[in-house]
Amino acid sequence: MTTKEIRSPLPGTFYRRPSPEEPPFIEDGGAVAEGAVVGLVEVMKTFHEVKADAGGTNARYLIENEQPVTAGDVILEVDG
């Protein structure tokens, strides 16, 4: 088993949830399918989806909700 990293393609503010009232895109410890949306990055007041380029299990977010990210930061780790 290896650890796979899902990175932010853009700099900005990272969101784990589609909106403040909704649950996170990925539950802690849950499974992630390749291509699934795992978060949003707000850059210059526009929102962009971050998609998983690899699937896996036991997902862990490494970036807190509503925290700044730079392009290339690891947002989520999964076991695959």
């Binding site: 853009l10 700099p11 900005g12 503010t13 850059v43 210059m44 007041k45 700044p68």
Partner: protein
């Protein structure tokens, strides 16, 4: 000058913070700049006499935090606070908080901000002052039945707007009664979620309208206008290109709308710089009031170029207690000015935001050319705020002269390390309709569909 040695606190960032800094410095004032953790290196911070950090990069936790900004301003020993545009500039609670802290808010009273911020109240104030308004619902609509009944005297199509909204947010268009039945519940839910107020109103939609707005300055008693701007070139309801004066407007129509705007500013006891926005129906030569913005606007430089009046300096002097020192007859319109907004967006890729590190910067200058910007070589543009990098403004003897100067200035401008909207303006300058001034608020989006901007 009585303001010399006083301290002005800038509760904003980016190019407008630089603009306000220069106005305050020219008045001999000391400048304290608010900045988030992401803005320590911004140009306005470098130009200020002192900087105060007001929190993390996210605007909600820094520039939009009323208590934090007010406390920072008070602790800095400032005499007054300039809010710029956006952020807290039209927040009545912020203005009240600044005043409660014993500082002067560079803008109108909290009551005026609140009144003009409520679109239904603003419309009523406009009507009372004799300002022309579009046929629309009288007051707030609370349900669908009231909306359907209102259509009988308004006609179709109509815009559905949130009473608490503004800046084009949440506007829906109904062409039929069926549209209305479908859209009213959506609009109500969205307004409730976005503004905490589900109140709606309807307004007749003028097709192929131009956006014309009148600049006013008031001292709480007396007001003057500084003529009008035409801001019809918009993308997603954001202005991208502005001119003064409006193209092809007769002197009689100009006089009529400017005088009505002054009447409204005086009726509400307006203090500082403000703008009354209108839709203009060219075929009927009619104006319809949209809203009043109670702040300095992004596009204010075109009015400065054609009048010679420094609007930012004027609003500071007025709000610091100086009565208007000139009369309407002293405000003269000279030549034609055009502004284009330079954004960090890629026009060849759906206007995708494109933050980066600025390199190889060449800023145009010369007679009649002005570039208001926050850029400098080596500046890393933070991704947390809007994409406006600066504004290129030109002034000519007439519109044709201004267009020629714009063309030369665009060719002389280099901004490396980023994608910007400069290529959009090169392309628009080559268009016959733009050259002839045959534009309206829907023009640019259709034009972009037909004329995609090539990748550089």
């Amino acid at each position: 000058m009585a303001l010399s040695g006083k301290t002005l606190f800038i509760a904003n960032r980016g190019e407008i913070a630089v603009r306000v800094n220069r106005a305050a410095k020219s008045l001999g004032m000391r400048v304290v700049q608010a900045c988030s953790e992401a803005d320590r290196d911004m140009l306005a911070a470098r130009l200020a006499d002192a900087c105060v950090e007001i929190g993390p990069p996210q605007a909600a936790k820094s520039y939009l935090d009323i208590e934090r900004v007010t406390t920072a301003a008070k602790d800095s020993g400032a005499d007054c606070v300039h809010p710029g545009y956006g952020f807290l500039s039209e927040n009545a609670d912020f203005a009240a908080s600044v005043e409660a802290g014993g500082l002067v808010f560079i803008g109108p009273s909290p009551e005026t901000i609140r009144r003009m911020g409520d679109k239904v109240e603003a419309r009523a104030a406009a009507k009372a002052a004799g300002v022309p308004t579009a046929p629309g619902s009288e007051g707030r609509l609370e349900d669908l039945d009231a909306a359907v009944a209102a259509i009988e005297h308004i006609g179709l199509p109509v815009m559905i707007k949130a009473a608490a909204g503004g800046g084009g947010r949440g506007i829906r268009v109904a062409h039929t009664i069926e549209d209305l039945k479908r859209l009213i519940p959506q609009a109500q839910a969205e307004a409730k979620a976005a503004f905490g107020d589900g109140g709606l109103y309807l307004e007749y939609m003028v097709e192929n309208a131009r956006h014309i707005e009148v600049q006013v300055l008031g001292d709480g008693k007396r007001a003057v206008h500084v003529f009008e701007r035409d801001c019809s070139l918009q993308r997603r309801r954001q202005k991208v290109w502005e001119e003064a004066p409006a193209i092809g407007l007769s002197d009689a129509s100009r006089q009529r709308i400017c005088a009505a705007s002054v009447a409204m500013a005086e009726a509400v006891g307006y203090r500082g710089a403000g703008t009354l926005e209108y839709l203009y129906d060219g075929t009927r030569d009619e104006f319809y009031f949209l809203e009043m913005n109670t702040r300095i606007q992004v596009e204010h430089p075109v009015s400065e170029m054609v009048s010679g009046i420094d609007l930012v300096e004027a609003m500071i002097r007025i709000c610091m207690g100086e009565p208007l020192w000139f009369d309407q007859g002293d405000v003269r319109l000279s030549g034609h000015a055009i502004e284009v907004r330079v954004n960090a967006e890629d026009p060849a890729n759906g206007f995708m935001p494109f933050p980066g590190v600025v390199s190889g910067l060449d800023i145009p200058n010369g007679q009649g050319v002005r570039f208001d910007t926050m850029l400098y070589d080596g500046y890393a543009i933070p991704p947390f705020y809007d994409s406006l990098l600066g504004k290129l403004i030109v002034h000519g003897d007439d519109r044709a002269d201004a267009l020629r100067r714009l063309n030369a200035a665009l060719k002389a401008t280099r901004i490396g390390g980023l994608k910007t909207t400069l290529p959009l303006y090169q392309a628009l300058l080559a268009d016959g309709d733009v050259a002839a001034g045959r534009t309206h608020t829907q023009f640019l989006e259709h034009w972009l569909d037909a004329n995609p901007i090539a990748a550089e």
